[in-house]
């Protein structure tokens, strides 16, 4: 006879000293855990609810400007710093960690309309309605760290006066050139008082300009004649342009897929384009109820933030038709500029009420250092939530957002309008000869023509 029974001596299964960690034994046998799916579902539901409870995206406001904030620029070599320019000609450098002004750059006579920082983070370029381009030395980071509250002010490195007012400026991602948008698109060098190159296509003013992050010689501009133009610095003339039905206020290139860009349009939508194929948008991002004023991509390229005239800031997936998140406060007025922080975890918005506001990019994210256990827990909850996101209860909780009454009303009104339009079109199609009214996708409908 051979016999053995389970016998566990306490010493083998418990810790030796009280300072030791408790011993843990695992057995992943599915038979020991019944109703796994139900448990997972309940956890997903609880995680969704907890996310709602902890959704406190607003971190703080930065006040100091005495007029509306018109533009912002982030410093690519310094995470904490952000520049903002206002309508009264004031430019400020902010420390995001302490949310106070570090340095002021005064000199512009009219509104500052464009701000950008060179790739090495040493030179700040600003331009404005006073027809000047100003170059500034960015203060070294030691000043940023110092705690004295006396406001440093800086003198411009150079002031270049030009023929027309400027609307936007952007610096090359890898190089010494920067471009300004105004009555024409000018390409500047740091050391020259006159543009090295100028482009003009049509008579209207260019209102925004952005360099391509992948190919340093390509830039996209939008103009008030409702066009989006793509320029190549190596060519003498502009490359191609499309004309849409409404004006594009701002453009942002996707830093991870540099052939794609997204245009913030006056008609409340954002349109993602492939720059090689401009005859139709890749995706239409709907949700705003008023003109979209500014747009900025996250460095991950997976999402972008938009600010709108309807007083909200929204975050969209790069391929999602509707926003993932909407931020608003009672005091925030028309949003003129938004930026994603360089670590993709914060969003900064500048608005008409002279304030910059700092938001979390993920509303319920826990700030500060996470213990490995906490991080694993968060990852696990994220995974179960993702797994059960299609179930109605989880979906309802995850999707729900509170909106100010005005925006809620406006959104439902827009929905009714678009539905009515759709119905009308449908009826028209039903009552005319088959094929005489072709069906046109929204991705194409807003484009009038493409010019090479």
């Amino acid at each position: 006879m051979k016999v053995k029974v389970i016998s566990r001596s306490t010493d083998e299964f418990t810790r030796e000293r009280s300072q030791d960690l408790q011993r843990v034994f695992r057995n992943f046998d599915p038979n020991l855990r019944s109703q796994e799916k139900a448990v997972e579902y309940v956890r997903a539901l609880n995680a969704a609810k907890l996310d709602k409870i902890f959704a406190r995206p607003f971190i703080g406001a930065m006040d100091g400007h005495i007029d509306a904030v018109s533009c912002m620029a982030k410093n690519p070599s310094h995470l904490k710093g952000i520049f903002s320019g206002s309508m009264d000609g004031d430019i400020r450098l902010w420390d995001l960690a302490s949310r106070r002004t570090v340095c002021q750059f005064s000199g512009h006579q009219g509104a500052v309309r464009g701000l950008t920082v060179s790739t090495d983070g040493r030179v700040l370029v600003s331009c404005g309605t006073d027809s000047t381009v100003r170059l500034w030395n960015v203060p070294v980071s030691s000043i940023m760290e110092s705690n004295d509250s006396s406001n440093n002010s800086a003198k411009p490195l150079a002031v270049y006066v030009w023929k027309h007012a400027f609307w936007a400026v952007d610096h090359q991602w890898d190089g010494d050139l920067f471009a300004t948008a105004g009555a024409q698109v000018d390409i500047w060098d740091h050391n020259r008082s006159q543009p090295v190159n100028s482009f003009e296509w049509g008579k209207d003013t260019a209102i925004s300009v952005r360099f391509n992050p992948g190919e340093p010689n390509i830039l996209a501009t939008s103009a008030s004649d409702r066009s989006i133009t793509i320029f190549d610095l190596r060519l003498a003339s502009p490359a191609r342009k499309i004309i849409m039905r409404t004006k594009t206020n701002s453009i942002a290139w996707n830093p991870m897929e540099p052939m794609n860009f997204t245009a913030a349009n006056e008609d409340c939508n954002c349109y993602s384009y492939d720059s090689r194929k401009l005859d139709e948008a890749r995706c239409v991002h709907k949700d705003h109820v008023s003109a979209v004023m500014d747009i900025d991509y996250s460095p991950t390229g997976r999402e972008f933030v938009t600010g709108s005239y309807d007083r909200t800031v929204r975050i969209f997936q790069y391929n999602g038709g509707h926003s993932r998140e909407v931020y608003h406060t009672k005091r925030m007025q028309r949003v003129f500029c938004v930026k994603f922080s360089c670590d993709a975890s914060y969003v900064i918005s500048g608005s008409d009420d002279t304030n910059l506001r700092l938001w979390k990019a993920k509303a319920s994210e826990q700030l500060g250092v996470l213990l490995p256990r906490e991080r694993k827990k968060h990852e696990y909850l994220e995974a179960v939530k993702n797994r059960y996101k299609h179930l109605p209860e989880v979906k309802r909780i995850v999707r729900h957002r509170h909106l100010p009454r005005a925006i809620y009303k406006a959104a439902s009104l827009r929905r009714i309008m678009s539905e009515a339009e759709r119905k009308k079109e449908e009826r028209r199609r039903a009552h005319s000869a088959p094929g005489s009214i072709p069906k046109e996708a929204l991705r194409k409908r807003r484009i009038i023509e493409e010019v090479e």
Binding site: V3, K4, T10, S34, K37, A38, K377, L381, R387
Partner: protein
């Protein structure tokens, strides 16, 4: 979306804790890579020199395959039927992940689960069922033999007993009011007290701190100091209690055959149903899906969930009253015993009898490893499924002192021990191979400290399942019901069917009848009638508009709604 639904519905049961568990698994594996590395390096090094190496590895991989199957939790989704390419890609990726995680779990098993299960093997002409407990006690180590004892309490029996899910604590209750909680690890009597009235059943709540007792008139909840916390009057004179661990529900069946479900965290009475099948004291929870099964005196077994007043299943299992009921932990196997001297094993997926054994039993219990204990009078028999094909046969037997009447059998979880409550106290015997050798600290920990217990209580409350999650097949949660389209027969099919029916009617021969009833004209007339009869249902269907398009049907309906005088206008509009 339809594609998503299909994909999800065909998804096999999920793995819990992809994130956390996976993470931990990886963490535990951290110490292993060194081992694996050196081993594989050696393998490479010696590959040419030793031929046996490869055969050795093959043995390991086969064993691993078996384990992988266990962790895969069923068949993979069939991706071939999907039309959505994007979804197909995503699901394929996920399938791949599942496979990998199952493989990792199987691989880690070797290191994570060091203990081996118990066993009893006979040699020569010995038979396992002839081996006495005394012989076993002589052979096993001291710790094991300590689990073999009889406690004689002749005055207040017969005794019933219950274990916590970790097997650490036991509560016993004598019929005449004697109750006790025992710490089984060091055989400490934690508390013992008398209530001086009938106690019919006793059951632990979510941990050893609380237990419920079904007493003469009401059910009471006590804490482990013997303090009465609650008197649950609504349950009435309960005969049998069961606690649903994950749902925090206390289920009871009372003298009048009423089934109550009470949430012990909120005190809310979740369900109160009349079984309508009379008094019964046979009730058992299926641990797989938390469905409560009640055995009745008519030989039926009914299964209940707290959210419906009608039973989920009502099955006739025995001729005569059902005396005992037990569930296997995998949820597919149920054992029932009746007064008709039969013990039946049922497959709960098909509701079919797998095996019928002769014998009476007053109480039955499945162990974690699937051993089945039965008892009649003072005789205990253990059945075992040797072949793995659910064919149970004799494994061990044991007789306690003559004249003792066994009241309750319960295997102690994670131990090779069977607890027996009988009319003269309680006993404990060794059943090698009955318990799960490796426990999971996060599921049930026999060595739990009070701090861990508190932590677990909080976690289990956070994961408390709503009563709606109790259903016959709990793996259905999260899957979406596929939209079932009614198969509409094609027009040609209908016509073919019609023709067939007409042909059949024409060919039908008639009985030869007298008095001119078989005249050719009459026969022709009959045939015509038969053909008409065969055609009729098809014509009716067509008239109903099933064969018509939606628009036409709508028009016809509109027409029918109008008063008769106006119907012609409707027809006119249609013409326009």
């Amino acid at each position: 979306m339809a594609d998503v639904e299909k994909g999800l519905s065909s998804r096999r049961r999920s793995t819990i804790a992809r994130g956390r568990r996976g993470g931990r698994r990886r963490k535990n594996l951290n110490s292993i890579p060194y081992l694996v590395f050196t081993f594989s390096d050696f393998q490479l090094f010696f590959e040419h020199a030793f031929d046996f190496q490869s055969t050795y590895c093959l043995g390991i991989s086969e064993e691993e395959d078996m384990n992988v199957m266990k962790y895969l939790r069923g068949e993979a989704a069939n991706l071939e039927v999907l039309q959505d390419k994007k979804l197909k890609g995503q699901l394929a990726l996920r399938e791949d992940l599942y496979g990998k995680s199952a493989k990792a779990a199987a691989k880690a098993e070797k290191w994570l689960m060091p203990s081996e299960g118990g066993y009893l093997e006979a040699e020569g002409i010995e038979r396992t069922w002839n081996i006495k407990q005394e012989t076993i006690a002589r052979e096993v180590d001291l710790l094991g033999s300590r689990n073999q004892y009889d406690i004689i309490l002749p005055d207040l029996g017969p005794y019933t007993l219950d274990f916590t899910p970790s097997g650490r604590y036991m509560t016993v209750a004598g019929r005449k009011g004697h109750m006790a909680i025992v710490d089984m690890k060091n055989m400490n009597l934690i508390k013992e007290f008398q209530v001086r009235e009938t106690v019919r059943d006793v059951v632990f709540l979510h941990n050893e701190m609380f237990f419920a007792a079904a007493q003469k008139k009401y059910t009471y909840i006590y804490d482990r100091n013997g303090t009465e916390l609650h008197c649950l009057k609504e349950h009435g004179a309960a005969l049998k209690l069961q606690f649903l661990n994950k749902h925090f529900l206390l289920a009871s069946i009372n003298k009048f055959g009423q089934l109550h479900y009470q949430d012990v965290t909120t005190g809310e009475m979740v369900g109160n149903f009349r079984t309508g099948l009379g008094r019964s004291n046979v009730m058992q929870v299926n641990p797989f899906n938390s469905v409560v099964a009640v055995g009745h005196s008519g030989g039926t077994i009914s299964m209940w969930k707290p959210t419906s007043s009608a039973p989920l299943v009502k099955m006739l299992c025995h001729h005569g009253p059902v005396t005992a009921l037990a569930f296997h932990s995998n949820g597919h196997l149920m054992a029932t015993a009746g007064m008709d001297r039969k013990i039946k094993l049922w497959d709960l997926r098909k509701f079919e009898v797998l095996q019928t054994l002769p014998g009476h039993t007053k109480t039955m219990n499945f162990s974690q490893k699937g051993l089945l204990a039965t008892a009649t009078g003072s005789f205990v028999q253990i059945l075992r499924d040797f072949s793995g094909s659910q064919n149970y046969s004799r494994y061990m037997s044991h007789s306690i002192a003559k004249g003792y009447q066994i009241q309750k059998l319960a295997f102690r979880p994670y131990e090779d021990v069977l607890g027996i409550g009988h009319s003269m106290g309680w006993s404990s015997i060794l059943i090698p191979g009955s318990g799960e050798p490796n426990f999971d600290s996060w599921v049930a920990n026999p060595f739990e400290t009070s701090k861990q217990r508190k932590e677990r209580e909080v976690h289990s409350l956070l994961d408390k399942l709503p009563p709606e999650t109790i259903m016959l097949n709990p793996t259905k949660i999260g899957s979406v019901k596929p939209t079932r389209k009614k198969e509409k027969p094609a027009k040609q099919e209908i016509e073919a069917e019609l023709e067939g029916a007409v042909e059949a009617a024409k060919k039908a021969s008639f009985k030869k009848k007298t008095k001119g009833r078989s005249k050719p004209s009459k026969v022709a007339k009959k045939k015509k009638e038969a053909v008409y009869k065969a055609k009729k249902p098809f014509l009716e269907q067509e008239a109903k508009g099933e064969g018509l398009s939606k628009k036409k049907r709508k028009n016809i309906e509109e027409e029918n709604q109008l008063p008769r005088s106006l119907q012609r206008f409707a027809r006119k509009r249609q013409a326009n």
